[in-house]
Amino acid sequence: MSLFSKVKSRLAAKLVFYILFFSTIVTFVSTGTQLLFEYRREIKHLNSTVKQVKQSHLSTIVSSLWVYDLTMLETELRGIKELPDVTNVEIIRDKNKIVSVGSSNGDHLLSHDFPLTHTHRGQELKIGTLKVEVSLQGVYKRLKERVIIILVTQAFKTFLVSSFTFLLFYFLIVKHLHTMAAYAKSFNLSRLEIPLKLNRKSDDYQTEDELFVVEKAMNEMRLNLINEIDVVRASQNALSKSEERYRSLINNIPGVVYRCEPTFPWNVDYIGELIEDYTGYSAEDFKNGKILYGNLIHPDDSQMVDSVVSEMVSKGQPFEFEYRLIHFDGTIRWIFEKGRAVYDQDRIPLWLDGVLLNITDKKLAEKQLEEKEVLLKSIIESTSDAIFFKDVKGRYVLANTSTQKAIGKTEEQIIGKTDFDLFPAESAKIIQQVDSSVLKSKKSILAEEHLQTSYGETFWQANKSPLIDNKGNLIGLVGVSRNITDFKNAVAEREDLKKRLMQAQKMEAIGTLAGGIAHDFNNVLGVILGYAEMVAEDAPSGSSLKKDAGKIVIAANRAKDLVKQILAFSRQAKVEKAPINIKLLIREGLKMLRSSIPSTIIITEDIDLENEYILADPTQVHQILMNLCTNAYQAMEETGGEMNISIKSTVVSPKQELELDISSGNYIELSVSDTGRGIRPEIIDKIFDPYFTTKDIGKGTGMGLAIIHGIMQEYGGAITVQSELGKGSTFHAYFPVVAQETANKIEKPENIPHGKEERILFIDDEELLAEIGKDMLERLGYHVTVRRSSIEALTTFQDSPDKFDIVITDQTMPDMTGTDLARRIMQIRPDIPIILCTGYSNLIDEHSAKALGINEFVLKPLTKSTIARLIRKALNGQSESGS
């Protein structure tokens, strides 16, 4: 131990403190005495200063004040101010300050007043007062300096004395005390043999002073201790063995044994060390009261635990329960506790003894199992498939929500029942057959069941499996059935669509075929029509030749329209509507019809109409009539009957608008009725659908009524049907009436315009058509140059382009098409008018032809009037009023 640290020791500190304390008191007393004498001396000096003022300055001040020489007065006062400790000098008259030097700020001031008198005219006058203020601050300052000097010297002196005293004390006493303390501190059973030996001179031992006595006493105590220690050690060994056995027993129990107070919070007297695993706190924390066991019980369980313990303790019965403990890390431990109270002789509970078991893992397993069950139930209930379980007798044990919906009953109504209780017999048999197979074969079966359920007629895909318990016994079957009705319907619909597609493709092929032959057919018709017109024109008026030629022209025109209709049907030609007299059209159609209908069918007509006009394509109207009549005929083909065709004006009222889906107004109503077998009510809504037919294969396409329906909609009209099974059907077609004046304007006969010897270059590779074209145009008053090759035509035009006023060319030609020829000709002479004629082409139509710069486009066969108007239109650049 260093000397410094020893100084800090208690005894030394006390010694130094007392020395310092006493020295300080002495210093202060002596210093105070000195200061008192110093103070008195200073005051005496101040008084002498004041006296000096009175003796030396007073008369001068009086003189100056009498003559009121303020400058002189101020000079005098400054002289006084310079004296030691004088802080303020002033002359006062009638309480007014006349002159002053210095300031009277500060404390500790001594003030001296000297009256100033002057003898004037034999009379002593008081002309003012001299006030001198002397400050004690200087005195105090000097005294303070003196105190500091005294205190410093005294403190130094005290320090020297204290240090010497301390060293003396240390070497005589403290040093040996430290030796004894060190001996005592290191004293233990292993050092009992070592005696205490103070480091002193041998002379000191002879005196046998106090230190000697203490040393001797400590060594005697050591010897006594050696004797006693053996006895104690033997007892300790015995006790230690006993405690070890007890501790081992308690700690090996699979749980925590405890003893605690019988009331909340059950302060622990003893608790097994395993409690640290349960709570995170050591057993010592509980034993010393740092942690209260009751406070660790989960708040939701605390009251239960307390009440059960209280009740059982009061009854003198053991208690057991489960509850949650909150671990130090915040997690939960489930505890099973069993215990009972220990009572005194008066049945007052002293302790609770018991054991705690950690059952957290068991609780978690239970919870997981419960969650798994809930999940399984949720899966079963949330699926759209019907899941069910039946026992071996076919009684439902489980039926999920989808099963309940399919059966149309609640779970209570289903459980315990068989399928014969829940389904129609036929459906129940189907189910039972599958179930029996599963139970018999003890194998899973995937079957399709056609059942009558609450959803109606349905199809189910059932996956049924036998259910075997853990002993291998068959206890029933479990099934998962899926409603595949929509799927089945979708498949059927897909098949239907497939058929329709094939039909459409067939119709398209027919259209393509029709388009293909239309060109050649039109050329043939062109020749017939051309020559018939020329014969009719040349024949004498009223002759039978003229009439026959006229009929040929009409028939050829009809044939031309039919070709056009075929093209329209195959969407390869434009349908053009025009105001037509429907009465005449129908009559004409009926004439043709009668020749094709067997006599077993009686045809009656009821035409009640003036000259009404409708806006329509005559061919389409003809088609409508023929189609409806053909249907009527086919309906009565086997049995015969009566077919009635009527036509009349009718007015569609606003009330009928919705029913007919047309605007109110004037209409022509064409009705075709038969006395045939009629139409079944369930299909009457489908008869206008495309490809719907009840006829045998080859007799109908299913398109007839669909086309009529489409045509009537395009006309702004409607078609309806009334039918009674076994009695016949009536179709009504409503055509909007066109205004009379419009019809007149359009129907007004128009003269065929003739040429003025303009020059035409006419090109057609068909010899007959080239010839008839030349004749027809020359008859119309034109000069015609004919070429049957497009190459030749181009050469002719190149040689002399100004020799021609207009070019008329066929479209379909070898080497070069009409459009290519037209393009080349226009390169030579852009202003030349060109008319393009075609029997059929899928490459060009009117729109695309005009886009190329071709003036007019016309479908073959050419009629005289048509070509005459188009030539004039092309030459004049006039707009055509109608075609």
């Binding site: 009498w66 003559v67 009121y68 020489d69 303020l70 400058t71 002189m72 004037h120 005219r121 009379q123 006058l125 002309i127």
Partner: protein, 240 residues
């Protein structure tokens, strides 16, 4: 012995009677306005006025401020001649409303041609005045430097010794002082830049004399006595 006692008694009685009708008045005026023998201009005017109201007068000379202090305290019963308004400062003094004279404040300088015509004209100069002359201390505010001295002798000395450019002083006092002390080469700068009426003040105990004194002073001026005294007393001192 008895006769001696009677005569002594009469003498004391007569002195007390005289003392009762006599007033002591102080003045700080100098030559030629007041003279130690009481023959100065102001002395004789005051003397004549008191004579006319049958009051004996003793004139004593005191420094200017002391004269006012003493009169205010009643040590002397009056003071002359002083400017108007001192009774506001010295509360025990009462002014006799009839003026004794006019003080003409002029600048004296070695240079004749200085342009001094109002109080602000002193601005560019080093100026000297007598300490306690209230009118000068109050009005001379603009100067290069201002030196205050205790008496006229020092005042003229600092001018003679070129310690100042000019001094401001009462014109008549200035003439008298230069005459008495043989000072030459100093010139008054005309015209005076200020002129003040000067009055006699009495202690409030003698306030009852004021109406009679006023009347007496007016009569002195009216009957030509005033001008006569002025001519006799001042003419020897005026510049030739």
């Amino acid at each position: 012995m008895k006769i001696l006692n009677i005569l002594l008694g009469l003498l004391l009685f007569s002195q007390s009677v005289i003392a009762a009708d006599q007033i002591v008045v102080a003045t700080a005026d100098g030559i030629p306005l007041s003279m130690p023998d009481g023959k100065g201009f102001h002395d004789q005017v005051i003397q004549e006025a008191f004579n006319r109201i049958n009051i004996g007068l003793q004139i004593i000379h005191l420094p200017a401020e002391r004269a006012l202090i003493n009169a205010n305290e009643g040590i002397e019963q009056g003071v002359y001649v002083r400017v108007e308004g001192l009774d506001n400062v010295y509360k025990n003094l009462r002014r006799v409303p009839e003026k004794i004279t006019d003080y003409r404040f002029v600048a004296f300088s070695k240079k004749k041609n200085l342009l001094i015509n109002n109080w602000d004209s002193t601005a560019p100069f080093d100026v000297g005045i007598i300490n306690g002359w209230k009118i000068l201390e109050k009005n001379i505010k603009k100067y290069n430097s201002l030196v205050k001295v205790s008496n006229p002798t020092i005042l003229f000395n600092i001018l003679v010794e070129d310690k100042v450019d000019l001094i401001v002083y009462n014109e008549h006092d200035g003439y008298g002082h230069m005459k008495e002390n043989g000072i030459t080469g100093i010139y008054p700068i005309q015209p005076p830049f200020a002129q003040k009426e000067m009055f006699l003040y009495l202690h409030k105990d003698k306030e009852s004399l004021i109406p009679a004194l006023t009347k007496a002073l007016k009569s002195i001026k009216e009957d030509g006595t005033y001008e006569k005294i002025k001519t006799i007393t001042l003419s020897p001192y005026l510049p030739k």
